[in-house]
């Protein structure tokens, strides 16, 4: 690896493994995070994402492998000397100090003179949009303000990498949506590498430049939000990222264009191009996203699609722009989750209505069957 290569990324993990006794929490994980980018590790709880983060921060030793920051191994560097800082899940602001005291803590530890600390603290508070918060008590801050103070406390130390451990988990929904945008903004403003771990796929999708989907200690796929959403590599990724209808079935015929699958509930599905080495008779999982299914009142409206079926509306889940309907297929009784168009076209749909559904084979993704697909 050349020097220029090393300088272009701030963080690199090489074959990192961590085991606790017999349990292997992280299995041979390698990745690089380019300078100034927003990298997320997305996975269900217990998948090992927190373990990786704690190894990067230095709170855990690696069992094997190497962690490099700006090209230099940090395995022998104590956590209070590593050029990484961490925003904790519950923020871990010090309630015994005021906001300025919290932000200045790291600077005081570095032995900076008082006036310089005050200047730096003022500047970073300005940047996170809380210019007057310095003398405030931690308990006087709102959830979003605490968030920003926690980030400012790290950013004032100018770390090479900022680690964020599900910092939005404690906020309520509206504020969380707001903070997603805010966090992304702060990241481009500070131009620092962010490594973000979360179990919430929408947080990862909205903010990240690159996302690693993790399951049982291993990375299943690393890619942009687009790639994960539109081109998942495994059944786990397809199930965990975004909502999907899922059918378990067996491949009946297999050709270059894809496969014909008969689902266990009787449905016959034409599935699109398959990246995995699957052949006739293999057990597979088919994933179709609710928004890829076209709904129509007459058969003609969906006639052009590779898959089309007929059913009755069982329930309408109105939720504004994200409304959905559950359709019970007439022949097999399978239930299909269909997104309603944002235009409000089908807004007046009522249970009992006969509808026709259709989707192209390219929208039906087919993977080797897995019982561990990140859905309930």
């Amino acid at each position: 690896m050349s020097d220029s290569d090393q300088l272009s990324h701030d963080l690199e993990c090489r074959h990192v493994t961590k085991s606790f006794g017999d349990f292997i929490a992280v299995k041979d994980v390698s990745f690089t995070v380019p300078k100034g980018s927003f990298f997320s590790i997305l996975g269900p709880s217990g998948c090992g994402k927190t373990t990786i983060m704690r190894m990067i921060a230095g709170f855990l030793d690696t069992s094997s492998g190497d962690i490099l920051i700006k090209g230099r191994s940090v395995l022998d560097v104590a956590p209070n000397r590593r050029p990484v800082n961490m925003v904790f899940q519950h923020l871990a602001l010090f309630p015994m100090m005021d906001v300025a005291g919290n932000i200045g803590y790291g600077l005081r530890r570095r032995g900076l003179p008082g006036p310089e600390i005050a200047k730096k603290v003022g500047a970073v508070l300005e940047r996170v949009g809380l210019p007057d918060a310095g003398p405030k008590n931690i308990n006087q801050l709102s959830g979003g303000q605490k968030q920003r103070v926690a980030i400012a406390r790290c950013m004032v130390l100018d770390p090479d990498v900022l680690l964020l451990d599900e910092p939005l988990g404690a906020l309520d929904l509206k504020l969380r949506d707001h903070m997603k945008v805010e966090l992304k903004k702060l990241q481009s403003q500070f131009d620092t590498t962010f490594v973000y771990i979360t179990h919430d796929q929408s947080e990862a999708l909205v903010m990240s430049d690159q996302i690693a989907v993790m399951n049982k200690g291993e990375f299943e796929q690393v890619g942009t939000a687009h790639q994960l959403y539109y081109d998942p590599a495994t059944a786990f990724v397809a199930g965990f990222v975004g909502d999907s209808n899922r059918w378990r079935g067996k491949i009946q015929t297999r050709n270059a264009k894809g496969a014909k699958v008969s689902a266990t509930d009787g449905l016959a599905i034409l599935a699109g191009p398959i990246s995995q080495p699957l052949s006739k008779g293999d057990d597979v999982d088919i994933f179709v996203r609710p928004e890829s299914i076209v709904i129509s009142f007459d058969a003609k409206g969906v006639g052009k699609f590779d898959n089309n079926l007929q059913g009755t509306v069982e329930a309408v889940l109105f939720n504004g722009a994200n409304s959905r309907t559950l359709v019970r297929e007439t022949a097999t009784g399978t239930q299909v989750d269909v997104a309603l168009p944002q235009t409000g076209e089908f807004a007046e749909l009522t249970p009992g209505t006969e509808v026709h559904l259709g989707w192209g084979r390219a929208q039906a993704r087919c993977f080797a069957a897995s019982d561990d697909v990140g859905v309930i």
Partner: protein, 285 residues
């Protein structure tokens, strides 16, 4: 309905509360009154402060008084010094079985009656005891050594007895300190010492204060440990009170001493609270 229930509870509680406060207040008032009666003749009493004057005029009394206070404060600090790392270890590092075992270890001195425990110490520390024997056997000393009947013995006894009362409030407050707070300290470049000083101790302050109050009170008011381990010259103030009540049968003088002890302890606790910037109700939380 809710108001009705509340009223019911209040009615239920009222006699209980009344009874409790009666039990607490009346004996003290009674004692205060008694301390103000002067024995003029056999069975003839007058109201006056002669009993308090006796305290002021007799140096033995107020020397004992001061000595007791200083020794108690020293015992409290020593207990804190030993108890804090133990409590930190129990609250933050020990897990599962080890944690329960350590807690039990702190409870053990409590398991045995204070009297029996003190006798145990006497057996260990006396001239013909195991410690003296061990030192002679090892050749460090040539003759038997008496470890009993000195201030160090009193101090060891007091610290040993008080440990649990310091450890329990400390463990409680340290338990409530989020581990990530300590990690955040390290992450931001703090050393172990600076985290202890700036994060752990400020957080544990209510526990430290309440532990210190309890230990101080227990030491100051202890009778058996200083008297038995310190011997005749222990010069503990409770011994003076005991002597007045039991030996001299001068209950009036004893009451005055008892009241002075109460005043002294309240004063020192109040000063300690002021100094540490804590309030009593905050500590009770």
């Amino acid at each position: 309905m809710a108001a009705g229930r509340k009223l019911g509870v209040l009615l239920l509680m009222a006699p209980l509360l009344l009874w409790l406060s009666t039990l607490i207040i009346i004996p003290h008032i009674n004692m205060f009154m008694l301390s103000l009666s002067e024995k003029v003749d056999v069975r003839v009493y007058e109201t006056g402060i002669a009993n308090y004057m006796a305290f002021v005029e007799e140096p033995l009394y107020w020397n004992t008084f001061g000595r007791t206070a200083i020794m108690s404060i020293a015992a409290t600090f020593l207990t804190l010094l030993i108890g804090f790392p133990v409590a930190y270890y129990i609250a933050k590092i020990a897990k599962g079985r080890l944690r329960a075992t350590l807690f039990l270890l702190c409870l053990v001195p409590f398991w045995v009656s204070e009297l029996v425990r003190t006798f145990g110490w006497m057996i260990l520390l006396r001239e013909s005891g195991i410690l003296s024997g061990f030192l002679q056997w090892s050749g460090l000393v040539s003759g038997p050594v008496e470890f009993l009947y000195n201030d160090a013995a009193i101090m060891v006894g007091l610290v040993y007895t008080s440990m649990l009362f310091m450890v329990v409030p400390l463990v409680t407050t340290l338990d409530s300190l989020d581990d990530s707070m300590i990690e955040a300290g390290y992450d931001l470049g703090g050393s172990g010492y600076s985290i202890l000083r700036e994060v752990v101790i400020p957080h544990a302050m209510p526990g430290i204060v309440s532990g210190c109050i309890v230990v101080f009170m227990l030491s100051l008011g202890n009778y058996l440990t200083p008297v038995l381990l310190g011997g005749k010259d222990s010069l503990w103030f409770t011994e003076q009170i005991y002597a007045q009540f039991i030996t001299r049968f001068n209950w009036e003088q004893g009451s005055a001493f008892g009241f002075l002890l109460l005043l002294l302890s309240s004063l020192i606790v109040w000063a300690g609270l002021k100094l540490s910037g804590q309030s009593l109700s905050k500590t009770m939380g």
